[in-house]
Symmetry: C2
Subunit: 192 residues, 2 copies
């Protein structure tokens, strides 16, 4: 069973994905999470604490669904592992739509709200390092700086494509094709 | 002198860049543009008309500052033309910060607001076609579908890098380096 604080963060991600960061009122969150506002303040202190913890929660959740593998399946090659980790962010499921919409919203609000910037930079860095690590297994002789640059580009491209998909400009199948070609191209460059 | 409707759209872009789409109230816009709310409704009908026209205005303005060239300078090569057009979106000036913050905000709101989607898709398409045209001058023998895919990736990457820069995750100089390497890599792939 999810703890009370997880239950609140799950509800916060749902509300942000549905109505945006500015649509998140503590009273509404309490109703959505089926808890009292006092319990929310007890766990997260204030609205800005809720937003920071929701960002961390969303980032951890994306880490889980992009690395989830069927335990009975053949082990993946490093190249397949990299591709899956990135392409699982472009799936038309409720979980991914909700998580990515909320992430895009939190990223967009950080343009106006300094309070989110540190947590956003931290979560982005963790993600970039994870992708750089996977790229390093695909191209073991590539220098660390080149792996980091490739990982920054692939993750920024994924954010860009994901926002186009969620905002109705791009079909998810097209986003996946474009992403997949970018992975090939970055891996080619790293090998040369 | 700017027309009254341009004056209103300039003010709307400023307000959205400062406080987000949800921070845009017609009364506040009237004060910022120094006009009456009646004049705003006369020109744009309703709040959703304001948002659609602001998106168009922002997109046209980006088209102007990314193609502005010194008339006395040497003409640019197709490769330089492409690079300038894209890198001029990553300049730490008030105009570009304001324009890109407002664009990111409108893109993020379109996740929740169907009303903006058509105009956003149109503006994105115009931009992708412009970049595909520039890529076609760099790589005249590349097939149209490959040019379109490269242009979609480069513009989506630019949106992703731009949001990271504006939300404080990435320095603008780093964003420019990553973008520049992506242009080289896409041009290389198109030539092979």
């Amino acid at each position: 069973m999810a703890s009370r604080s997880t239950q609140i963060l799950e509800a916060a991600a749902r509300v942000i994905a549905r109505r945006g960061v500015r649509g998140l009122r503590v009273e509404e969150l309490a109703a959505e999470a089926n808890v009292s506002t006092a319990l929310i303040y007890y766990h997260f202190e204030d609205r800005s604490g809720i937003l920071r913890h929701t960002l961390e929660f969303i980032s951890d959740r994306a880490g889980r669904y992009t690395t989830r593998r069927d335990p009975d399946a053949e082990p993946l090659s490093p190249r397949e592992e990299l591709e899956q980790t990135l392409l699982l962010e472009l799936q038309d499921t409720t979980e991914v739509r909700e998580n990515s919409s909320a992430w895009g919203e939190l990223r967009a609000s950080a343009v106006f709200d300094d309070n989110l910037r540190e947590e956003l930079a931290r979560a982005t860095l963790v993600w970039v390092q994870e992708v750089a690590g996977l790229l390093g297994r695909v191209c073991p002789t590539a220098p660390a700086a080149a792996l980091a640059a490739s990982a920054e580009r692939l993750t920024a491209l994924l954010e860009g494509l994901s926002m186009r998909w969620l905002s109705g400009t791009l079909r998810v199948s097209r986003a996946r094709t474009l992403m997949s070609e970018a992975i090939d191209s970055e891996a080619d460059q790293l090998r040369n």
